[in-house]
Symmetry: C2
Subunit: 341 residues, 2 copies
């Protein structure tokens, strides 16, 4: 099967073709740019939801239940499960297979697991193409599940229309500190395992952090921060017409499914709001800009690697830096000249 046939089958959600197309895009096999160009016009329709939380928060179960709820509503769902901490796909693949079994009779759900450690540029970079394939294939929702460990949540936020942050009572103070750092990217907060002691404390802490963030920025929180100000660029909507989105704090028991329908409702409401006040256009522009810049940057370095003379010069510069004959900035300027002119 040539890539043209893979693409046309993937566009009608032939699961084997979708799977092969993801591999092509993921591995950047030769000719993948043509395949990507062919599917790209069909993207932009899916609602991309990033779901992130610390290890042990039950977020995989929650993602499964959210997928099941959307299926119940007649929607199709693609899931990209990312574990940026593991270069070993063994664990992920095993989990994948177990999860696949649960949805195995349902071709309205597609699950793909991936590790991204060592992947230059991290989660967003590795995941972006996979999300686009699922989007083009016509899945109504694309859920990106990632472990909340450091930069990965922030990166995943750059891809998602809606970011749901999963928290859980009783993970100890160290974990709470980690959470503090990602407050600003949450559009929806989910406190899972709500039967555990300490649930009120977690809810109160989130509320406090949200209030604090709101006060600090002095702007509509939900659309500020990494997403940048809204409306200013698109200019289609007067920001004052729509009340600012205040991230709701929901409580769930993913195991039993309690509260999951509300999570789905809230994500939908958030998407509705994004479309309404022009922020969706802005978010998607930012994603497009960062991807375009990233790709251009890759192409520049790839060009360098293919140019023996430039590559030798770059290595020589690095040796001078290593020997302290030149400082890294002087070397950086020289390398820049080598590339730009």
């Amino acid at each position: 099967m040539g890539w043209q046939e893979i693409v046309s089958r993937a566009l009608v959600r032939d699961i084997r073709a979708v799977s092969r197309l993801i591999s092509i895009v993921e591995d950047r096999r030769s000719g993948f740019e043509d395949a990507y160009a062919a599917i790209y016009p069909h993207t932009g329709k899916a609602h991309v939801i990033g779901i992130t939380g610390p290890p042990g928060s039950g977020k995989s179960t929650l993602v499964d239940k959210i997928a099941a709820e959307y299926r119940r509503r007649g929607k199709t769902v693609g899931i990209v499960a990312v574990d940026p901490t593991s270069p070993f796909t063994g664990g992920a693949l095993l989990g994948d297979r177990l999860r696949m079994q649960r949805h195995s009779l349902d071709d309205g759900v597609f699950i793909r697991s991936m590790g991204t450690r060592g992947h230059l540029g991290g989660v967003a970079r590795a995941t972006s193409g996979v999300v686009d394939v699922l989007d083009a294939a016509g899945y109504d929702y694309v859920l990106i599940e990632t472990v909340g460990v450091g930069q990965s949540e922030v990166e995943v936020a750059s891809l998602a229309d809606t970011v749901a942050l999963v928290q859980v009572p009783g993970l100890g103070d160290d974990i709470q500190v980690i959470k503090a750092g990602v407050m600003e990217i949450g559009d929806v907060f989910v406190v899972n395992k709500k039967d555990r002691p300490g649930v009120e404390r977690v809810v109160a802490e989130i509320r406090m952090a949200l209030d604090l963030a709101g006060n600090v920025s002095g702007r509509s929180r939900a659309y500020s921060g990494h997403h940048g100000p809204t409306g200013a660029t698109t200019g289609t909507v007067d920001a004052t017409e729509v009340a600012p989105w205040r991230p709701p704090i929901l409580q769930t028991m993913a195991e039993s499914g309690e509260g999951v329908a509300e999570v789905c409702d809230t994500c939908d409401a958030h998407m509705h709001r994004l479309s309404e006040d022009g922020a969706l256009v802005e978010r998607r522009f930012r994603r497009a800009r960062s991807e375009t810049m990233q790709i251009a940057s890759d192409l520049i370095w790839r060009g360098l690697a293919d140019d023996r003379r430039a590559l030798d010069a770059a290595e020589e510069l690095a040796w001078k830096v290593a020997r302290r004959e030149m400082d890294p900035y002087a070397a950086g300027w020289s390398l820049r000249e080598l590339i730009v002119n």
Copy 2:
């Protein structure tokens, strides 16, 4: 005080000057490249040790005790404490102050805390200049302490001569999975809180993972992986002359100081081995190359941002991508042309 005076004072370890120089380098204030160029020839003398572990592993205490032990041996120590998960420096600063008090009468220890969330390029990028300032200021050891949460350990490994991975019994399976992914960067393993139940299991697991990694790569583990093969490039030493470094697994009680001297001895032994077999030169070349490339890349993008015409063109490309009129790769190629020619 002009930057020249700050630099000359920092080079003789005037603590206020060191602190100000770090701020200049960290914030990339105007003229910082001159200051950096002035100190850079004085770098390369410190033994840089990266110490990383999961939240709750007691690694801050361990770092403090390692610093104290080196002080006892008449050495000076700079500490860079990195929490990549927090954009709020409040917590870090508070901890800093508490730790500073412990060493406050000793100007042979310098501590700097930093958050790096949202810092483009992550831990290595943000920390690199700080490490260089401490190195130039004449600290014998620079300890980089970072929370083991995802990519940060791997990044910190790119700066360090020696990487010590701190583990701890009883953190549960999720954490163990995270650890598995960073095995390959460890030069020294430290199992802290060795009085806890499960310590033998952790030691056995590390040993097993090391054996596995050794078998998979079929090469000397310690100098393979991200550090690349040794000797081949430098060619000064026959690799067969020196037995491969097998990462030792040490047990400590950081609180009481038990086992800390052994950790120091082992780090020193590792540095001795690196110098002996030529791997140090190789590691430092790799660090220099990645920094030079990173800086050149920054300069290229900065140049774009300063060029109104190019910037407009880049934004227009991104809008086309966002509107699905162009795919990201086509836009990336166009943007590349804009920059390279």
